[in-house]
Amino acid sequence: MREGAKARRQKGPRCARAFVHLCMCAVLVSGCVRARAKAQPDGPPLDVPAPPPRVVEPVGNEPPQLIPLPEEPRRTPVGPRATAPPRAEQPNTTKPEAPKVEAAPAEPPKSVEEAPKPAAPPTALQTTPPGAQAEVERNIRATMARAMRAYFMKYRFTHPTQEDFMRTVNEVSGRDLSWYWNQAMFGTQVLDYEVLRADSNPVNWFDDNLKEKKGETEYETQVILHRKGDFVFPVEAVVKFDNGETTFERWDGKERWVRYVYRKKAQVESVQIDPDYRVTLDRDYLNNSHTTESQHGAVHKVATYWMFLTQFLAQMLSWLA
């Protein structure tokens, strides 16, 4: 009985409190509904002259004027294009030096929400052997400077959009770079390439009397390059053998991975993707290369410095003891 009376006594104030809260909420909500930015000025409109007509040269319909890029020098030795259609591995008896290429099947089409795939990636890189790097670098810089100048001259005193910029660069460079813009500007793809595997095994590994001799034993070398991210970008790779031979490979990166097979009287020493560090969008440079021999120098150095810092920190901390 007493509890019932107590509950009744508490019920009254609780209802009143709820009513007060309800009223406050109603007032706040009505205030929010009425609240509006005061966009219209109270005074009379300013007497501003009409803006001059925007003069924009139409550029969409005319074909871009192609600017010849420097001729790419021939490389030696030249492996098969990584963009060649996938083919089965064949016994390489006539030309043992030429590597075989096996590419992964193309990826299934992406969903609509994802950024559009590149329209047509170029089949060849704008790369040159190390001797002509400076020339290429100079040409790229010159092209970019021309593009920036053209962009400025065309759109000065106007309000260009990023499409205007991209169109200008396409025009000046003479290339359709929409495959790049789609990924780098509008997409969220990550660019990351890695050397998945690089090893050499004797061709006649089944021979019980096999005695490996440097320069005499024939090896089959397999190199697998892997595109970890979704960003498709053409890359080049350098394969070094222990007889000093170096092979440049180009891969358009369209497939998820590609395998190069070599038959040489030498073992692979190292493989490196993007040896000139030109693909600055690559997320992880550390997996861009692979060496068959362990590289302990860097590990020992990092460990030594880390240990010193730990010791120093411990010594500084013990100063408080």
């Binding site: 190292s270 490196q272 997320r283 992880d284 440079y285 550390l286 997996n287 861009n288 290369s289 692979h290 060496t291 068959t292 362990s294 590289q295 302990h296 120098g297 860097a298 590990v299 020992h300 150095k301 990092v302 460990a303 030594t304 410095y305 880390w306 240990m307 010193f308 810092l309 730990t310 010791q311 120093f312 920190l313 411990a314 010594q315 901390l317 013990s318 100063w319 408080l320 003891a321």
Partner: protein
């Protein structure tokens, strides 16, 4: 003793040199803590770089960009492995807190303690030094607050000054004042530790008050001792780092030896400060008999086993009437 003719700094160094075993033990423990703290990071780095040409940028030089890649990349994320370094640094801190009693006792008695005696002294003073450490938080916090105030003042003046570098110089001055104040607080608590060991003091509040009076009374002399030794520490650190910076990047063994020498020099100067404080206290502060405090473990008393000898022929005691058998 020949050291009586020397000043406290030189006598402290002589004491440190005579008892250099302590220094080597501390250094070995520090080295172990460093190695164990760096282990996980080294393993992770080996996993990432042992078959990568990117490591050549670190081994044939020291490319900071590549080094920071090791921290940035989520697959490696060396920052995560710095936890072990902190843990082992803290363990070394605890170790030093523990053995400080033994070290001061060694310096006070100036003879090589047996291992058991050393650790007995360490254990005897451990909790007292923990209490001192907790009490030291108060003055160190005050010094920290003073530094905060000074740096804010330096910023305030620097913002209003016409010359650009006024704020920087004032900031350095604030840092210098902070270091000197911190050194003074350290000196005060070192004297407290020395006094606690010398007098076997148990009340740390009382000990701290007495040490304050001693330190304040002869502040100029004591501070000069500590400042000169600290100067040696800073100079050796700077010289060592300059030499290290000029070493060829591929000479890793030499670099390792040099860095360890730097750490050894830092530890040595810290123990030198303790030895000098002990020497100074024994000479100038309070006369305490060396034998006053007995912390050594007592030697086990010799137990003489008595060999059973034939009972002497004594007249039979009167045991009363013989009891009848139970089953009777």
């Amino acid at each position: 003793m020949a050291d009586d003719q020397k000043g406290p700094v030189a006598a402290g160094f002589s004491l440190l040199w005579r008892r250099q075993g302590v220094l080597w033990w501390v250094f070995v423990v520090n080295l172990l803590c460093g190695a164990l703290g760096a282990g996980p990071a080294a393993i992770r780095t080996a996993h990432a770089l042992s078959h990568s040409l990117a490591g050549q940028k670190l081994s044939n030089g020291f490319d900071l960009g590549m080094f920071f890649e090791l921290f940035r990349l989520p697959d490696i994320d060396l920052i995560r492995y710095s936890t072990s370094s902190y843990v082992f640094a803290f363990l070394f801190f605890l170790f030093m807190l523990f053995v400080t009693g033994g070290i001061l006792e060694t310096y006070r008695q100036d003879h090589r303690l047996r291992t058991g005696d050393f650790f007995a002294a360490s254990g005897a003073f451990f909790w007292r030094f923990v209490r001192l450490l907790l009490l030291s938080i108060i003055p160190f916090a005050i010094v920290g607050m003073i530094y905060q105030g000074l740096s804010k003042l330096a910023d305030h003046i620097g913002d209003r000054a016409i010359a650009d570098q006024v704020g920087i110089f004032l900031g350095w001055a604030a840092m210098l004042i902070f270091l000197l104040l911190a050194l003074w607080v350290r000196l005060w608590f070192d004297i407290a530790q020395v006094r606690a060991v010398a007098r076997n003091e148990r009340g740390m509040w009382r000990n701290l008050w007495k040490s304050w009076r001693i330190t304040w009374h002869d502040s100029r002399h004591l501070f000069r001792i500590y400042f000169s030794i600290s100067l040696v520490a800073w100079v050796t650190l700077v010289i060592g780092l300059v030499i290290w910076a000029h070493l060829p990047p591929t000479s890793l063994p030499l670099s390792f030896v040099l860095l360890e020498l730097i750490v050894l020099a830092q530890l040595m100067t810290r123990l030198w400060q303790l030895a000098s404080a002990t020497t100074w206290y024994q000479r100038h502060a309070e006369v305490v008999a060396v034998e006053a405090v007995i912390l050594t473990t007592p030697h086990p008393e010799e137990i003489v086993e008595t060999t059973p000898s034939p009972a002497p022929d004594l007249p039979p005691a009167d045991l009363g009437p013989e009891l009848p058998p139970a089953d009777a």
